[in-house]
């Protein structure tokens, strides 16, 4: 710090920081909504939670801010569980979730005195995919999936699953245990009766679905599962299997079958809104805006829109909050 330039730069930086801190103290409440003169609504909204729901939240926030440039919406993706933690601590007004809220999370919110409303904003189908060279299988049953993915499974060839399939090595891919997709398959198919459902862990796991896509593309005799959007983007180099849950026969995954709930492996995506926050105009406007256009934003980022009856339920919930 001997030369004058360095000293000036340092002093400048320090001053900026101090000024910034001073300005910041004047308005520390992140939820304070400014005056709502004019058409554009101002105020800030903090959203966090599932990384699966994130793209939809981003799409909704982006459009909302185009018509309301003074509104400040921030969206994070700390994960569904991390999102609820922040929601319960009162840090966020909206929490994104790729599963319904769990018991301990409900308890936390009750203790904190936070009332909330749930809206379903999209449906995410789970595609079971194989390498396109796998020509002996077109439809897979829940029992077969369970045999492949259940914890401790010793299935290592296709013929282990079904004797009519060839004695070829079965290479298994799946998301890692931090992912909501992992939990979903574990709860629905692989290990539904356990207290803490899991899948086998002696397979290729990755937190990045694109890595799973590449794995299944590159390995003949492979099987894997991930969100339907990842299959759609790579449909020419992957083969999605029809799925049979044991009661309604083989159903191929598509936007229609996921929406109509015929396809058995689809999960709803939710947002949870703090009721108190709905008193702020910026939050209630944003939530209304999002929920009423949920289908558009869901399909824009690769998910499936919710069935009509859910849309009607959402509408009712909105009215309930408004009154």
């Amino acid at each position: 710090m001997r030369n004058p330039t360095a000293r000036r730069v340092a002093a400048g930086l320090l001053l900026t920081a101090l000024l910034g801190a001073a300005c910041g103290n004047a308005d520390t409440d992140p939820s304070s909504s400014g005056d709502d003169g004019g058409q554009s609504i101002s105020g800030s909204i903090a959203i966090d939670g599932s990384s699966t729901v994130f793209p939809i939240a981003q799409a909704a926030a982006e459009e909302f801010q185009i018509s309301n440039p003074d509104a400040q919406v921030s969206v994070g993706f700390a994960g569904t569980g991390g999102g609820f933690e922040a929601f319960c601590a009162g840090d966020t007004q909206i929490s994104n979730a790729s599963r319904a809220i769990e018991k301990d999370e409900v308890e936390c919110l009750e203790e904190a005195g936070i009332e909330y409303t749930e809206f379903q904003v999209a449906v995410d189908g789970l595609a079971i995919v194989t390498n396109p060279e796998t020509d002996w299988v077109d439809c897979i049953t829940f029992d077969q999936l369970k045999a492949i993915y259940e914890p401790g499974s010793d299935v290592s060839t296709w013929s282990d699953v079904d004797p009519s399939w060839p004695d070829e090595e079965l290479k298994i891919f799946g998301p890692d245990p931090d992912s909501g997709t992992y939990d979903y398959l574990a709860e629905t198919v692989a290990d539904p009766d356990a207290d803490e459902p899991a899948t086998r862990d002696d397979m290729t796991q990755s937190a990045d679905d694109n890595v799973l896509v590449q794995g299944v593309q590159g390995e003949p005799g492979s099987i894997g599962y991930f969100g339907f959007a990842y299959y759609e983007e790579n449909a020419e180099s992957l083969k999605a299997l029809e799925v049979d849950d044991g009661s309604s026969g083989c159903v191929a995954p598509s936007a229609e079958t996921v929406k109509s709930n015929e396809y058995p492996l689809s999960r709803p995506l939710f947002i949870y809104v703090a009721n108190d926050a709905m008193d702020q105009e910026v939050v209630s406007e944003f939530v209304t805006f999002w929920v009423q256009n949920a289908g558009d934003y869901a399909t824009a980022v690769g998910y499936v829109e919710t069935p009509n009856d859910v849309a009607a339920e959402n509408e009712q919930a909105l009215e309930g909050l408004a009154s």
Binding site: A21, G24, T28, S44, F54, A57, S74
Partner: protein, 293 residues
Amino acid sequence: MATVATSLRRHSNVREQLSERVVAVFLVGATLVGLLALVVLLVTVARSGAGQIDVPFLRNFASRIPERAGIWPPLVGTLWLMGLVTLFSFPVGVGAAIYLEEFAPKNRITSVIETNIANLAAVPSIIYGLLGLAVFYRALEMGRSLLTGALTLTLLVLPVIIISSREALRAVPRSHRLGAMALGATKLEAVYKTVLPSAVPGIMTGTILGLSRAIGETAPLLVAGAAAFVAFTPDNLLDAYSALPVQIFDWVRRPQPEFQALAAAAILVLLGVLLTMNSIAILIRNRYDRKTR
């Protein structure tokens, strides 16, 4: 030095020369592996990303529509973070190093502190994120703000800066301190006028390493409340913010290939910021290097 030279001369024969050459080839190879990996990485990223970088890309907000998407808020967020982390970590880190190296008594407390700092350097970054969440975000109520992120990253880089600064200070010959004091300087003057200027190059290297680590971190920021989407730039230290690595992380995991290209472009911008930052530090280092020689 003299003993090493004589022992070398005594043992040098054909076999020794051969093995020396083998080792040299191995060492060159080892250097090339790292370099090659870097070149491959840069070329791949540059090929898919370079075409995406233009003014709208730098100035736009993130978007669900790839053509509209840009990196302005995360870019500004990263620049803020780096400025703040430098501001916080440099004085504290170098100060701690000077104390531990020049002034601290050699007793048990000091050695406990030293061991802890060395261990902290190896703690996974996500742990710092959790610490930032508990302390800055919750306990000190800074919330999802730039300040929370900057302080979290500061904790993350402090051990690196302290350790390398201490090493730089230790490398200054004892005679410099003694000489200064013999001329009547106090201990403080000796440290500030003689030792510190000679140690600046080493300290700068440590700081570069620390800040380069901080600029690429995603996990601690996500945990400590960085937003992945904000359509505004922070006005003050308590505003919400995003950062380039968080944006890259989001784009890389999207299913649509257009976003992968955007991720590559954002990686190039991050590299650009990193290199600019490092060259400034290297410029400062070289100035001092010349002065003290």
